[in-house]
Symmetry: C2
Subunit: 227 residues, 2 copies
């Protein structure tokens, strides 16, 4: 039961009985990936799903000419590729470790039995529903907002999810941020420079400080445009 303590901490498994946690620990397969290592590729046969223990995993799509769109970044405690358990037998996107990461893998067949417990399936349903809402926002952003608006949304999201020192840590390379926002590094760089020039943000190395939150919010909502 060497994984039991870590399983206790995974939000997806909250509300489950001690026995359920033990059963999960029993079927857990621990894996480790180096920075830059691929976990699976789109189309690979999928035999289970994952939970991040430590590190950072990116889920992304690739176009034939190599352009990438990040669908999601997952950190400690977050599950990914659950879809593989319930629909189809192949992964619908690529997964790669952005940092040295440890993950738990749960084989589908063994995990499926645990879904008989209503707490387990309700947790899963809630998790997938949140994922759906996130995707809906992403589609809205890609289709209805320009890059400055998407960037503003992301900065405000970071601001709300990190401590309120006002200093935002990106945690990812700007190239990766560009890919998350559905644009190119050059475009991102230019827009950051413009936001800086207009004193909406301050660029402090790899960190960003929000200087004018109201204006960023107007950008994020699409109410204003960046001049």
């Amino acid at each position: 039961m060497k994984h039991l303590k870590q399983i206790d901490l995974i939000p997806l498994f909250q509300g489950l009985s001690r026995e359920q946690h033990q059963e999960l620990a029993r079927i857990t397969v621990e894996q480790e990936y180096d920075r830059g290592q691929t976990i699976f590729s789109e189309g690979d046969e999928a035999s289970g799903f994952y939970v991040v223990v430590s590190g950072l995993i990116k889920i992304y799509k690739l176009s034939p000419d190599g352009k990438e769109q990040i669908l999601h970044l997952f950190g400690p405690g977050e599950p990914f590729a659950e879809v593989a358990v319930f629909a189809g037998s192949s992964f619908p996107a690529h997964a790669l470790a952005l940092k040295k990461s440890r993950v738990f893998f749960f084989p589908r067949d063994l995990f499926a039995k645990l879904l008989a417990d209503p707490s387990m399936s309700m947790n899963m349903l809630a998790s997938l529903s949140l994922r759906l809402k996130h995707f809906a926002s992403m589609i809205e952003a890609l289709s209805l907002k320009e890059v400055p608006g998407r960037l503003a949304s992301y900065l405000l999201y970071l601001n709300s999810s990190q401590d309120d020192s006002g200093l935002l840590q990106l945690n990812i390379a700007k190239t990766q941020l560009a890919s998350l926002l559905g644009t190119m590094p050059e475009t991102l760089s230019r827009i950051l420079a413009r936001m800086h020039k207009q004193e909406m943000i301050r660029l402090e190395g790899a960190n960003i400080r929000i200087m004018d939150q109201p204006t960023l919010e107007k950008l994020a909502s699409g109410e204003n445009r960046l001049e």
Copy 2:
């Protein structure tokens, strides 16, 4: 039990016991909407989810200046707004009837009890998973493909889901198709004209005939560009 027969036909409820179907029929609220009528708006308090009995429902997002992005079109047998049951208490998008439609509404509290049945929750999980895959494709398309590629994908999808007479029925106005593809009616019109000129498709009123499927497939995959 006046809705029992229709409930039998809903894919989401396949594999359930007779008693479960009866229980579903008992809590079903039937509603009817005229063409153009709003079913709910983004942010409205959500107290349950829906299944389309007949007609066509569009789920969409709106930008402040009125531009719309369709997230999904749902026809007979398809559930929508399930997310409202599992995450949050407000609808994350708008819903409107594109045709005169009948829907079944299932109140969350009453429905929640039925989720104790593993068949029910597994069906739901499968349904949400498919929805996630669809959204992932949509994000990929919006971010990595140009409009001709997205249109080609849609035409090929129609071709695979309709009879193989080769004649595609759009079933929706071109304005709506533009909104589904994340573009403007003018752009769609121009691209259809170009595809026609290059003899990839033939325009027959509200219908479209595919003339050169291989070329469309290259467009859809991003391998080729439209000249």
